[in-house]
C-alpha cells in the first residue's frame, strides 16, 4: 500500500450527517429546516464557481448525491458483512466497505476544494439515501423468512444491482463529455481513487448505492503527471478561474438538470 493510500484511509469521513456534523439542506417542497441550516441556490452559486454561469445547484446537488450514495454503500457493506457466513464474501464486503469510506472522504475533500460544503445534503442526496435504505431493507426485513443461501444471495444482489446501475448510467454518459466544461481538473481530482491503478473506474457514470466503484473520473482529466497535478496545492481561486474559463468555452449539458442552467445551448458561449 502506498503512502497516499495510507493517508486516505486515515482521512476523516462523515458517515452520518446530522446537525452536530454541520448538516444543511435545501428547503424544497415538503422539506424545511432552520434558516441557519438552509442552503439556497444563491448561497451555492456564491460558494462554488461564482459567475461561471454554471448550474451550481445541480452540480452541488449531484456531488451531494454521490456522497449519499457512498454513505449508503458504507452501511450496506457493514450489514452485508454482518449477515454473511461466506469468508470470501465477508472479505470482499470488508474491503469494499473500507474503500467506500475512503470515497466519502475523497468526495468531502473534493466538495471542499470546489468551495462547497461537504455537509450540504441536497434533495437529490435525500432521494438517493432513501433508495439506499430501501435496498437494504428488503433482505433485512425477510432475513427470518429465508435460508442462509437466499439471504446471502439477496445481499449480494443488493451490492451488485447498484453496480450494474452504475455501469448502465456510465454507458449513457459518454455522449456528455464533449459538452462538459473543459476546465483543467480541480487539483484534488488527481488524488481521486482513479489515480490508483488498482481502483481505476472505467465507467464515467455516477455511483449508486452499494457500488464499489470509485467516483467518476472527469472526462477531461489529464494524466497524473500533467502540470496541473504537480503545481502544488490547490487554491480555490485557481479552480474558480479555471471553471469560469471552461464555462465560456463549452456547451451546457442540459436545460434542467445539466451543468448549465440556461438551456441546452449557451448562446453567449456559442457566439
Amino acid at each position: 500500500m502506498s503512502t497516499t493510500e495510507t493517508d486516505r484511509t486515515a482521512m476523516p469521513a462523515t458517515l452520518l450527517e446530522t446537525a452536530a456534523t454541520g448538516g444543511r439542506t435545501m428547503p424544497i417542497s415538503m422539506t424545511v429546516t432552520e434558516p441557519a441550516r438552509a442552503c439556497t441556490e444563491e448561497q451555492l452559486e456564491h460558494a462554488m464557481f461564482p459567475g461561471a454561469g454554471l448550474n451550481v445547484a445541480f452540480i452541488a446537488g449531484t456531488l451531494s448525491g454521490f456522497l449519499a450514495h457512498e454513505r449508503a454503500g458504507a452501511c450496506l457493506y457493514r450489514v452485508a458483512r454482518e449477515h454473511s457466513d461466506n469468508p470470501m464474501l465477508t472479505g470482499k464486503y470488508e474491503e469494499f466497505g473500507r474503500e467506500t469510506i475512503e470515497h466519502i472522504a475523497i468526495y468531502e475533500e473534493l466538495v471542499t476544494d470546489l468551495g462547497g460544503d461537504p455537509h450540504y445534503v441536497s434533495p437529490a442526496a435525500r432521494m438517493i439515501e432513501q433508495q439506499g435504505a430501501k435496498l437494504l431493507e428488503g433482505p433485512v426485513s425477510l432475513a427470518g423468512s429465508v435460508g442462509l443461501v437466499s439471504l446471502e444471495t439477496a445481499f449480494l444482489e443488493a451490492v451488485v444491482s447498484p453496480s450494474t446501475s452504475a455501469t448502465t448510467t456510465g454507458s449513457c454518459l459518454p455522449a456528455s463529455p464533449p459538452t462538459c466544461p473543459t476546465k483543467p481538473p480541480p487539483p484534488c481530482v488527481p488524488r481521486s481513487p482513479a489515480s490508483n491503478p488498482k481502483r481505476t473506474n472505467t465507467s464515467a457514470g455516477p455511483p449508486t448505492p452499494g457500488s464499489s466503484s470509485p467516483p467518476p473520473t472527469p472526462p477531461t482529466r489529464p494524466p497524473e503527471d500533467s502540470p496541473d497535478s504537480s503545481n502544488g496545492p490547490p487554491t480555490r481561486s485557481r479552480m474558480r478561474s479555471a471553471s469560469a474559463g471552461a464555462a465560456g468555452a463549452r456547451r451546457p449539458v442540459d436545460a434542467h438538470g445539466g451543468f448549465h442552467r440556461h438551456g441546452l445551448i449557451d448562446d453567449a458561449a456559442e457566439r
Binding site: C75, V121, R126
Partner: protein, 279 residues
C-alpha cells in the same frame, strides 16, 4: 395549544354540568380555563392537515424530541377519547368526546407529518428510546416527591438499556453507529413552567391563525375554501362542543371559566361560540 386549551374549557363545562364539579378542584389554579380556538373552527379539510417535515440531517435534536413528544401526547389523547367516549350515557358527553377525538386525530396527523419520512425504522426506534430516556431524565431531575422519584429512576435505567439495544440493532441491521446519530449529551431537561402569561399571549396573537394547505398563517379566522366546505358538513348539524356551553349557560346563567388573571385576552368576539353552525 389554542385548540387543546379550548378542549379543556369544553370538558370543564361538561364536568360542571353533569357532575356539579369544578375543574379547578382537579387542576388547581396553575392553568386558566377559558375559550381557546372554538372547537367547531378547528375542523380542517384533510388537504389542510399536513405540515412540512424537518430534515433529519439538519434538525436540532431538541426539535425532534419536541415533535415526538407531541405526537405521543396527541395520540394518547386521541386513543383515550375514542376508547372512553362511549362510556358516558349522556349523549352530549358522548358527542363531546367524539368531536374532540376527531380534532385530536387531526393533531396526530399534523404533528406526525413533521417527522422526516427519510428516517428509517431503526432510526425511529432509536429516537423513540432516546425520547423516553430524555423524558424520564427530565422527571428525575425535577421530581420533588421521593416516592415518585423512586419510580422514575429505575425506569430511566430501563430505557437506557433499551436505547443500547436499539443502538445494537441499528448497527446490525442498518450499519449505523447510534453515537453518530444522537447528541453527545442529553439536551436540557424538559421543564414545567408557568403557562398563564404564555397562553394569554398566544391567544391574543394567534387565535385568528388558520391553516392554508401546508402552512399556518395569520388569516384573521378565515379558512380555506376546502376547509370551509368541510366545516359546512361537519358543523352543519350543530356541534356537541357548542351544545355543552349552551346547556351550561342555560342552566347556570353562564359558561364555566377559571380566569384568574383577568378578562379574556381576546375580547372583540364571543370566544365561547364559533363560526361553526349550531344545532
Amino acid at each position: 395549544l389554542l385548540e387543546d386549551f379550548d378542549h379543556l374549557y369544553r370538558y370543564a363545562n361538561l364536568l360542571d354540568l353533569t357532575k356539579r364539579k369544578k375543574a379547578e378542584a382537579i387542576i388547581g389554579t396553575v392553568t386558566e380555563i377559558m375559550p381557546g380556538r372554538p372547537n367547531p373552527d378547528e375542523f380542517r379539510h384533510p388537504d389542510d392537515d399536513l405540515r412540512r417535515h424537518y430534515d433529519k440531517h439538519s434538525v436540532d435534536p431538541r426539535s425532534r424530541l419536541h415533535v415526538m413528544t407531541l405526537v405521543a401526547a396527541e395520540q394518547q389523547t386521541m386513543n383515550y377519547y375514542m376508547n372512553a367516549g362511549n362510556i358516558p350515557v349522556d349523549p352530549v358527553a358522548r358527542g363531546l368526546y367524539l368531536e374532540i377525538a376527531m380534532i385530536e386525530e387531526q393533531h396526530v396527523t399534523q404533528y406526525e407529518s413533521l417527522l422526516d419520512p427519510l428516517e428509517t425504522w431503526f432510526e425511529q426506534w432509536l429516537h423513540h428510546e432516546y425520547l423516553e430516556v430524555w423524558l424520564y431524565h427530565s422527571f428525575v431531575e425535577q421530581e420533588t416527591d421521593p416516592r415518585v422519584k423512586a419510580i422514575w429512576e429505575p425506569h430511566l435505567s430501563m430505557e437506557i438499556e433499551q436505547l443500547k439495544e436499539a443502538a445494537r440493532l441499528l448497527a446490525r441491521y442498518e450499519g449505523k453507529d447510534a453515537a453518530a446519530l444522537l447528541p453527545a449529551t442529553l439536551p436540557p431537561a424538559m421543564t414545567f413552567e408557568p403557562n398563564k402569561d404564555y397562553v394569554r399571549r398566544v391567544l391574543a396573537e394567534q387565535v385568528g391563525h388558520r391553516v392554508d394547505a401546508l402552512d399556518i398563517v395569520d388569516a384573521d379566522g378565515k379558512v380555506t375554501k376546502q376547509t370551509k366546505a368541510y366545516q359546512s358538513v361537519v358543523n352543519g348539524d350543530g356541534n356537541y362542543t357548542q351544545d355543552v356551553i349552551d346547556m351550561h349557560s342555560e342552566r347556570f346563567g353562564s359558561d364555566y371559566r377559571l380566569q384568574t388573571d383577568g378578562a379574556h385576552p381576546v375580547d372583540h368576539r364571543d370566544m365561547a361560540t364559533s363560526n361553526g353552525g349550531h344545532r
